[in-house]
C-alpha cells in the first residue's frame, strides 16, 4: 500500500529535517552509541567528544524517516555543551517536545535519538573507568 507521507510534521521537525545540525562522524570519539536496525527502518549513530565531563562536540548519522533525522539533529543540539550527567537525563519526550511534538505513530519507532545519546554517554563512562 502506498501512502503519501504528509504525516503532520511540525515546522520545527521540517526545519531540522532540511537543515540538520551536527551531521557527521568524529574520528576517535570519546563515546559512541548506535541504536535501531535497518530492518525496522531506523539506525542512529552518535559520536561525542568530552572534556572534563562536558560534551564539547557531538555528531550524528541517521538512516530513517523525517522524524528520525529531525530527532537526531535535535538531540545533538540539546546535548552539546552539557555535562554528561545532565545529558543522560534528556528523554525521548524532551526531544519530541523541543520539536513541537511528533505524530503519535512516530513517538516510538522514530524517536530513538535520546537512546543513541545515552548509549554514547554510557560508552564514554565505561571507557573512563
Amino acid at each position: 500500500m502506498i501512502d503519501t507521507a504528509q504525516v503532520g510534521y511540525s515546522k520545527k521537525v521540517m526545519e531540522h529535517f532540511m537543515n540538520p545540525r551536527n551531521v557527521g562522524v568524529i574520528e576517535n570519539p570519546d563515546g559512541y552509541g548506535k541504536v535501531g536496525n535497518p530492518v525496522c527502518g531506523d539506525v542512529m549513530e552518535i559520536f561525542i567528544k568530552v572534556k572534563n565531563d562536558i560534551i564539547t562536540d557531538i555528531k550524528f548519522k541517521t538512516f530513517g524517516c523525517g522524524s528520525a533525522i529531525a530527532t537526531s539533529s535535535m538531540v545533538t543540539e540539546l546535548a552539546k555543551g552539557k555535562h554528561v550527567d545532565d545529558a543522560i537525563k534528556i528523554t525521548r519526550a524532551n526531544v519530541a517536545d523541543e520539536l513541537d511534538g511528533l505524530p503519535p505513530q512516530k513517538m516510538h519507532c522514530s524517536n530513538l535519538a535520546a537512546d543513541a545519546l545515552h548509549e554514547a554517554i554510557k560508552n564514554y563512562k565505561s571507557k573512563k573507568k
Binding site: M1, I2, A5, M14, V39, G41, T62, C65, G66
Partner: protein
C-alpha cells in the same frame, strides 16, 4: 518552483471535460433514478448512459453486466465476499496473489475468520504471478481467485489471459482488480476471460465516489449491502449520479485518447527510468517491459522512503513510497516484500505515476531533484560504507 505532480496512483484531478459533463447532475438534474416522473427518468438515463460507456470501455457483453458502486474498495468487497458467499455450495476456498490491494486481502482474511481457506499465490521478483503455484493452489473448492491486472506500486502487468485459462480449467471464477490498469492497457473482459472486474472512477480522471464491478452474465454474486435493491439488488443505496455520469464520460474520453496519451507518458517514463537507474545503487522495481506506461518505481540503497518523499516535496515534486514509515501501520509494503525485497531494501522505495500534467521536458528537473535528494540523504546515512 513549479509543481511537478508524480503521484497519480494516489490522486488524480477530474478532467475538466468530465466535470462539465457531470456538473448538471449536482444542481439542476438532481432527481433520484428510482422516481418515475421526469426528474427521476433523467437521472436514470444518466446512469444507463454511463453504464453503456463503461461496458464499451472493457468490451463487456452488454451494459447489464456493469454494477455501479461507491468505490473500487466496495467493488472488491462485492466481488470477493459476494461471490464467495453466494457460491458457498461449491466450496469454501478463496485465493489471491500476494500483491493484491489491501481491500481484496482484507476481504479474504475476513472470509478466513469465517471458516474459509485463504491461499496467497506468490509472485516472482518482477511481481509476476507464478502460474505453476497458481495451478497447484486451485482446487475444485475454490470459488474466487483474485489476481490484479496490474500493480499500482511496482507497475507490473500480469498475464491475465494465461491466468484466466488456469483458473477456468478448475472451474473457478477469476476476479481482476483493474484499477491501476484501466485506461493504461486495453481491457477486453471477454477476450481476456474475466469473470469479475473492478474499476475506479477517480483513476480515470473521473470524480471520486464511484466504482464499478463487471459481473459476467453467468456468474452468481450476492449483495454485501442490504437496502432498497438498486443496481439489480447488488448495490443498494441512492446512486451518486454526478460521480457515475462522470465516470462514464471519463472512461469514454480515456478510451479515445489512450493510445496517444500512453505513448506520450511511456516516452517520459522510459527517460526517467534510464536516468534514475544510472544513480549508484538505484534499482527499478517491478517488471522492465511488462509495465504500465505511466509507472516508474525505484528503490535506493541506504536511505528511507519517507525521507525521500519529504525531500522531493521540498523541490515541489510529489512522489509516493512503499516505506513503512509513511504508513499508519508502520509495516513496509506487502508488495515490496512479496517481490523478495528484504525489509531494509523495501524501506528505500520511491514510486512515480505520471499523468496529464506531466511532460518529458520535466525530466531533467525531476532527475536533478532525485540525484540531490539521494546524495543528501546518503550523506546523513550511517549505512553508506
Amino acid at each position: 518552483m513549479d509543481k511537478i505532480y508524480l503521484d497519480h496512483a494516489s490522486g488524480m484531478p477530474v478532467d475538466p471535460r468530465v466535470f462539465d459533463f457531470a456538473k448538471p447532475y449536482l444542481v439542476e438534474k438532481f432527481g433520484n433514478p428510482s422516481s418515475l416522473y421526469n426528474d427521476g427518468l433523467e437521472a436514470k438515463s444518466a446512469v444507463e448512459d454511463a453504464r453503456a460507456k463503461i461496458a464499451k470501455f472493457i468490451n463487456a457483453e452488454d451494459e447489464k453486466t456493469i454494477i455501479f458502486t461507491g468505490s473500487a474498495t466496495e467493488s472488491n468487497n462485492l466481488a470477493v465476499r459476494g461471490t464467495a458467499l453466494r457460491n458457498i455450495g461449491a466450496g469454501k476456498e478463496v485465493l489471491a496473489s500476494a500483491i493484491e490491494h489491501i481491500s481484496v486481502i482484507n476481504c479474504m482474511k475476513e472470509l478466513q475468520k469465517n471458516g474459509f481457506t485463504f491461499k496467497t499465490v506468490p509472485v516472482d521478483s518482477f511481481g509476476i504471478v507464478d502460474p505453476k503455484k497458481l495451478e497447484s493452489y486451485l482446487t475444485k473448492n475454490t470459488t474466487v481467485a483474485s489476481i490484479m491486472y496490474a500493480n499500482n506500486e511496482i507497475g507490473t502487468i500480469e498475464p491475465i489471459k494465461e491466468i484466466s485459462k488456469i483458473v477456468h480449467e478448475k472451474g473457478n471464477y477469476l476476479h481482476v482488480d483493474a484499477v491501476a490498469a484501466a485506461g493504461r492497457v486495453p481491457i477486453d473482459v471477454q477476450g481476456d476471460g474475466i469473470d469479475l472486474l473492478t474499476l475506479s472512477s477517480n483513476d480515470l480522471y473521473g470524480p471520486k465516489g464511484a466504482g464499478a464491478l463487471y459481473i459476467k452474465p453467468s456468474v452468481k454474486v450476492q449483495s454485501v449491502l442490504l437496502g432498497g435493491g438498486q443496481e439489480r439488488g447488488l448495490r443498494s443505496g441512492t446512486e451518486n449520479i454526478f460521480a457515475i455520469a462522470g465516470m462514464g464520460e471519463a472512461a469514454q474520453i480515456m478510451m479515445k485518447e489512450m493510445n496517444k496519451e500512453n505513448a506520450r507518458l511511456k516516452e517520459m517514463r522510459d527517460k526517467l527510468i534510464s536516468e534514475i537507474t544510472k544513480i549508484k545503487d538505484a534499482y527499478l522495481t517491478g517488471h522492465p517491459t511488462q509495465r504500465l506506461p505511466h509507472h516508474a518505481s525505484f528503490r535506493f540503497s541506504y536511505i528511507e522512503g519517507e525521507s525521500i518523499l519529504i525531500n522531493m516535496d521540498m523541490y515541489n515534486i510529489q512522489v509516493a513510497t512503499g516505506s513503512a514509515c509513511s504508513h499508519k501501520t508502520l509495516e513496509p509494503s506487502h508488495v515490496l516484500l512479496a517481490i523478495g525485497l528484504k525489509h531494509e531494501a523495501a524501506h528505500g522505495s520511491m514510486v512515480m505515476t505520471l499523468g496529464s500534467s506531466n511532460n518529458i521536458s520535466q525530466v531533467p528537473t525531476i532527475v536533478k531533484a532525485v540525484k540531490e535528494t539521494v546524495k543528501r540523504l546518503r550523506e546523513l546515512s550511517p549505512l553508506v560504507e
